[in-house]
């Protein structure tokens, strides 16, 4: 059940807001992850220095992406990897299907990959008769439910144990109790068979190390290790921006990613895979493919407002910090990526502004995402840029556009502004009762469904100012000694280039 593109953001949000379980589950989980993140970054100390370092490494790599990506491809090939490039989702899907056909695969086991979600690869594999099995516990659950992940890190955040027990019972052919360890035990056994049967293991890629051609995976369950160890063929899907230059740079990412995602010092497993198994090795894939995907990412290259989006390390910290995500969960965002990063990425990955929905409006611009981001991506500013581009492209809301024209006409002149306040005071008499407005109609409908509105007082500040100014001038006290000098010094500093 993909909700993508069928409803407006508002309606999707309304559905989510009426789902009490969803809301409490999302709140509970995001709170746990968020406090874990805050704790882990505080414990580590100098967090801002680490963030800045992470940002600098990402900025540099993206600014020289052609160099590092070429270096990675050369080294990966030298390691025996088959490297492929895909401009679009369709190309990446075709490459994957081509390999599956060549290998006469019946079954593919997969570890969590957001790129794979972007490609809707499972459906494509199924269409040629290949079974695709998600092996991350949360992904497996939502695959059984025929849904999409609602969180980058905790895909099944929106499901409770009873729903999960029902789904797994169907798969087991017997009734399983809603007990976490029993359910997880069932999945362990079930998927063990799948790992051993599958011809192909498919993974995402957290980071790719240019200098050695290695790909790095972070995970807690061990399923990504299974996928890269057991099947004979490995396919790795990788966004073109996943590159970092070196292993020492990986230390920085390994410091930022798990702490930001779950509050862990390091995930249980961090695996660096450098090519297929060596001839003499007893396990590991015989053949390894890496598909490097653009799919709209290069739209951000060279765009000063959005290039930093490519710095994202997909930790999910912005989701956990976001007060909007907390209320509506991931599906309401209607795309592969949810939360603040999704609200920016989903439109930014599409060239045609006409295809952008209103998702960039689903933010109060509070900046919690920016504060949480381990590589300091200014998502709140990007949301404003998206809104502006939509307006510039003539695709803003018509009524809002008229309103804004009115706003400009009033606000560009203080006399007109003052006249409008006067009119407002007259107008509100129709709806105001004892100093407040409770009317749930017209432009106040949404606001007054949850609040009351204060009325304009008899005198605005500027009405009062002449009297107030007189009064104050009469009773003005002396400036405390030293304060005048303080002010002078601040002005001097400012002229030297300092300031607030």
């Amino acid at each position: 059940m993909s909700t993508e593109g069928k409803m407006s953001v508002k309606n999707r949000a309304r559905l989510a807001l009426n789902n009490d379980f969803l809301r409490s589950a999302v709140r509970f989980t995001t709170e746990r992850l968020r406090s874990g993140k805050i704790q882990a970054s505080a414990d580590h100390g100098s967090w801002d220095e680490w963030r800045e370092r992470g940002r600098q490494i990402r900025l540099h790599t993206i600014a020289n992406l052609d160099y590092y990506l070429t270096q990675f491809a050369d080294n990966a090939r030298a390691n025996g990897v088959h490297v492929h490039f895909a401009d679009t989702a369709e190309e990446a899907v075709q490459l994957s299907l081509n390999i599956a056909k060549q290998k006469s695969a019946q079954s593919v086991v997969k570890s969590k990959s957001m790129v794979s979600e972007e490609l809707h690869l499972n459906k494509a594999l199924e269409s040629i008769g290949v079974e695709a099995v998600e092996t991350d516990l949360g992904e497996y659950i939502i695959q059984l439910a025929d849904e999409t992940p609602s969180h980058i890190i905790i895909p099944a955040i929106h499901k409770n144990r009873y729903q999960i027990a029902d789904l797994l019972s169907k798969e087991a052919g017997e009734t399983l109790p809603p007990d976490t360890s029993i359910l997880a035990g069932f999945v362990r056994n079930k998927l063990r068979e799948k790992f051993l049967d599958a011809e192909i293991g498919m993974t995402g890629c957290n980071f790719a190390i240019a200098e050695t051609g290695s790909m790095v995976l972070f995970e807690n369950e061990g399923n990504a290790r299974m996928v890269t160890t057991v099947p004979k063929t490995q396919i790795t899907l990788m966004g073109m921006e996943r590159i970092i230059p070196s292993w020492t740079d990986l230390e920085v990412m390994a410091t930022l990613l798990p702490r930001s995602a779950t509050g862990q010092k390091l995930t249980v497993y961090m695996s660096g895979i450098t090519g297929p198994r060596r001839d003499e090795d007893g396990d590991g894939p015989d053949e390894m493919h890496i598909i490097i995907l653009d799919n709209g990412r290069s739209l951000q290259l060279g765009d000063p407002e959005f290039q930093e989006l490519l710095n994202c390390i997909r930790c999910g910290a912005c989701l956990n910090a976001c007060p909007v995500y907390r209320q509506i969960g991931g599906h309401a965002y209607g795309g592969t990526y949810s939360g603040p990063i999704g609200a920016v990425l989903t439109p930014a990955l599409k060239k045609n502004v006409a295809e952008w929905d209103d998702i960039a409006n689903a933010s109060s611009l509070c900046g919690a995402c920016y504060e949480a981001c381990p590589v300091k991506i200014p998502l709140h500013d990007m949301l404003v840029s998206l809104r502006r581009r939509k307006v510039e492209a003539g695709r803003g809301n018509k009524l809002e556009g008229l309103g804004m024209k009115g706003f400009a006409a009033i606000m560009n002149n203080s006399k007109r502004y003052r006249a409008v306040i006067r009119l407002g005071k007259i107008g509100q008499k129709l709806v105001a009762r004892s100093g407040e407005i409770r009317l749930k109609a017209g432009p106040l409908k949404g606001w007054n469904t949850y609040r009351v509105t204060p009325t304009l007082p008899k005198h605005s500040f500027r009405d009062k100012w002449p009297t107030l100014e007189q009064e104050i001038r009469g009773g003005l006290q002396n400036m405390p000694s030293g304060m005048e000098q303080r002010l002078q010094n601040i002005m001097k500093d400012r002229n030297k280039g300092g300031g607030s």
């Binding site: 052609d66 160099y67 060549q102 051609g213 230059p245 010092k265 660096g272």
Partner: protein, 244 residues
Amino acid sequence: MSSDSHEAWLAELEAASRQKQETFMNGIASKLRRPRVTNRPDQPFRGAPDFWESFQWSSEERISMFTQNFQAAGGHVIHVADAVQAADFITNKAEEMKAARLLMQNQPSLLALDLQQRLSQAEISVWNDQPETDWRAKAAEADFGIVEADYAAAYTGSMTVMSSANKGRSVSLLPTVLIAIIPVDRLKTRLGEIMSDFDAAGREGLPAGIHFISGPSRSADIENDLTIGVHGPGIVYAVLVDSW
């Protein structure tokens, strides 16, 4: 599918990929509004912040912090003086848990633990010591996997296991219980001390699999309820050995 035709298929893909690579990279350069970067750029910031590079714990601190961090992640830590005590520990654990099958890496120091002698009732296998065995299956049915870690980092409570012909990745992954010997002289303070060795080794010096392990396999995917042992080993012992 003959291997020849498979090679031909791969060669065809390779040719297509190399051609595509050129347009892909040229596209990036043109988006960035500059010519292709073909010489290695100066990297203004590489690796961890400077203050971190000089951060160092004493040997005692490393041991105590590794222990604390590894335990916090749900792992167990035992600190012993030498190989004999390590062997004692493994023997006792195997007897206590009634381990019937043990699989270990093919390492001289692990073989020298003499587990075959000590656990005569159990089946003890040594990774990849004969070609005809299905080693994946062997690992999957093992109760204990026994490995010697190549490195460990105290700050994150992690150990590093590197693959080779004698050191299968499956040994630390498929068995129910993982026992990892960590000689204390391989225990570093920071991850970066390990990473810099990999940079120094370079592409040709790296094995196919490098695995950092920081506790038992876990998941919180069902209602945030922590579950241990989802796919990888649910019980992990780190055995710190002073003299190995």
